[in-house]
């Protein structure tokens, strides 16, 4: 007993007091800032492993970006990654960052369904489905609930049964072999329900884009409520994105 108390005492305080303003340690590649400097755009576009960069004007699509940082190493005056981890959006187009525009990525309240605020603002239970995920986003989603990030304090939790869930969080590029289980799981969640895509693989297929082993038809059948970029998603990106989505709105 005493030993246990001693251990508890030695841990000190581990939780991050304010999730919305926490500073990340060291370097982090969050929202990119693209200057209007003239560069060889063809060369820049060619660097990217996932075709996330387009030219004229130069844009980076956070739904395709793996945050490898390579573009920024080659063109440091053109592209810099800020430590801004609030990069979730509820419209696919909002994930595209344009040169010369240095604004936060935000959710568009106009397209958030009314039920989300009505039903889920105080409590949200999520079912996670890994559909070809590489276990990195899965580990970070698990970390959301650990003693550091403690997402449970906001009433947001992952649950075992889709019957208990208010929505689904998909990771991975959605493999052909997982297409049916994903559909069955989604169908088992009672209405109203939300869909969150976590990580570059889920949003665009990432580096697996175009693989014949994928079947992404599920995504064209439904409205996506939240896109959370990252490779993997950072817990702070996920938690802040979800908090914005379910915020009480009148």
């Amino acid at each position: 007993m005493l030993d246990n108390l001693k251990i508890l005492f030695h841990q000190g305080k581990q939780y991050i007091p304010d999730i919305t303003t926490a500073e990340l340690p060291g370097i982090f590649r969050g929202r990119p800032e693209i200057s209007t400097e003239k560069v060889n755009e063809a060369e820049l576009v060619d660097i990217c492993p996932t075709n996330a960069i387009t030219a004229g004007p130069v844009c980076i699509d956070l739904g395709k970006c793996t945050f490898c940082g390579e573009c920024s190493f080659s063109f440091p005056n053109k592209i810099q990654f800020s430590r801004d981890y609030k990069i979730s959006a509820n419209e696919r187009s909002k994930l595209i960052i344009r040169e010369g525009i240095n604004e936060p990525v935000e959710l568009n309240p106009a397209v958030i369904r009314k039920e989300i605020s009505d039903y889920f603002s105080g409590s949200l239970k999520l079912r996670q489905v890994s559909a070809g995920g590489d276990n990195s986003c899965e580990m970070e989603l698990n970390a959301c609930g650990n003693v550091n990030f403690d997402m449970g304090r906001f009433g947001i939790e992952f649950v075992a049964s889709p019957r208990h869930a208010d929505g689904i969080v998909i990771t991975g590029p959605i493999t052909e072999n997982m297409a049916q289980p994903l559909q069955i799981c989604y169908d088992a969640i009672p209405e109203p329900k939300i869909i969150i895509l976590a990580g570059v693989d889920a949003i665009s297929g990432g580096i697996f884009e175009g693989s014949p082993a994928l079947n992404r038809s599920f995504l064209s059948a439904y409205t996506i409520d939240l896109y959370v970029p990252g490779n993997p998603v950072h817990p702070l990106t996920f938690i802040n994105g979800v908090l914005e989505l379910i915020k009480k709105r009148n």
Binding site: D3, N4, I7, H10, Q11, Q14, L24, P25, G26, I27, R29, I47, P49, T50, T66, F67, C68, G69, E70, F73, F81, V129, S130, A131, G132, G133, D134, N135, S136, C137, E138, M139, E140, L141, N142, N146, V147, N148, F158, A160, G172, P173, T175, E176, N177, M178, Q180, P181, C185, D201, I207, F208, G210, S211, P212, A213, L214, N231, P232, H234
Partner: protein, 499 residues
Amino acid sequence: MSHISISNNETIPLSSIPELDYPAFLEQNILSLKNSAGSHCVNYYGIPWNDNVRLICCIANDELSSINISSALVETGKPFNTFSKQNPAFEKFEREIHENFGIQYTDHPWLKPVRYPFNRYNKNENITDYPFFSIDSEELHEVGVGPIHAGIIEPGHFRFICNGEQILHLEIQLGYQHRGIEQLFIEKKKLLQRATLAENIAGDSVAGHTVAFTNLWESMCNYQPGRDLQLSRTLALELERIAVHTGNLSAMCTDIAYQLGSAVYGRLRTPIINFFQRWCGNRLAKGLIRAGKTNFPLTNELAAELTTLLNAYERDFEEISEELFNLPSALARFEKTGVLTREQAENLGTVGISARMSALERDIRYSHPHDLYRELNHQLLLKNHGDVHSRARLRKREIDQSIAYIRTLIQSIPGAGTQSVQLASPSPNSFTLSLVEGWRGEICHAAVTGENGELIHYKIKDPSFHNWMGLALAVRNNEISDFPICNKSFDLSYCGHDL
């Protein structure tokens, strides 16, 4: 001898690999395993070869630090005798060859689908109609779990046959995570795309798979990495080992409902992965390891931070471990649960902790050292009982060992010696094989290039490929309620297996 003997990360002309007729190929490889205790198969697979299949068998000799490569050309659709009949460690490899190329094995004990890849030979076979083993009995019942599991983990289907609460048989069906990675290695032509693919094979083994790819690629391009690069890679591998083992101990505590252990180990993992973020901007080390260069040189400041962090980590880690491994209620759940005997492990050819827990000496850091492992003079850590407790204890001891290695490694940080160079293109018509001891065990990447040095075949083997069958055997005669702790203590990869 009709094989060519190479060392880890050696590139050889493809034409130097002897081609045997199938019966001689079979006999030679079976005999070489039988006659040398320190030998095991690190990879055995097929390459499409002008409408036929070229089988490549890679047998590692742990005593000589060599790998013997031999091959045979066979026709699809023809019947062949198996290796598996004489050496069960080949069972999964031959199932894969059957699934990919339709090779008909006449005497395979368990010729079942492996992962239902998109380019499988028989497209009529579908993941929904996997042929499960079943027993017709009034007394026994079946329990199906998955593919989607209760927690946030990857999908796979477990089918148990139970007698009351007791597991008689477990069959594990995988393939749900198949993304066609090996094919993408060929199709995506840029080096950065391939490095990104390597990082995404298994997100919990980013360092493991990326070092395997990078070492292989550099060897193909005839590039010798400087000490700074080798140090970064060795360090990344050991940090990854500490991070995942710590997370695993946390999860094992969760599975036995030991809250304190779960919380403390869980939070101890955080500073380790946050160090990766300080170093390279990504908590799981994505972006850190690149062929022929590094974007994130290891500085003296980073090393100093790491020293402080490890000191703090170690104190709390030792304290909670002392508590856990003396806690009767924890030991009661760990000891004699989920046993894989040495004989079983050897027969199946398990690797990593899943081998060393049963006193099977298998560790690439020791047998085929790469990067700075030769200098570290890695000492094998072994346990004897092959149970959950052995797996947990080994993790604890491996963490201690990794901490000691890291302290040695960062005593002197070489300056950022490596200038970013344009790598030459890979040698034409060549074969290269790269072995890395990831935290989970032996990772093997092998590549073949064509006439212009272009990649024409890429083969990946995650340690889980060997070990899943070990889990299936270890749970026999255990209570089904002990399955989660057994599963967690093996901690195998779905995506690494399914590719």
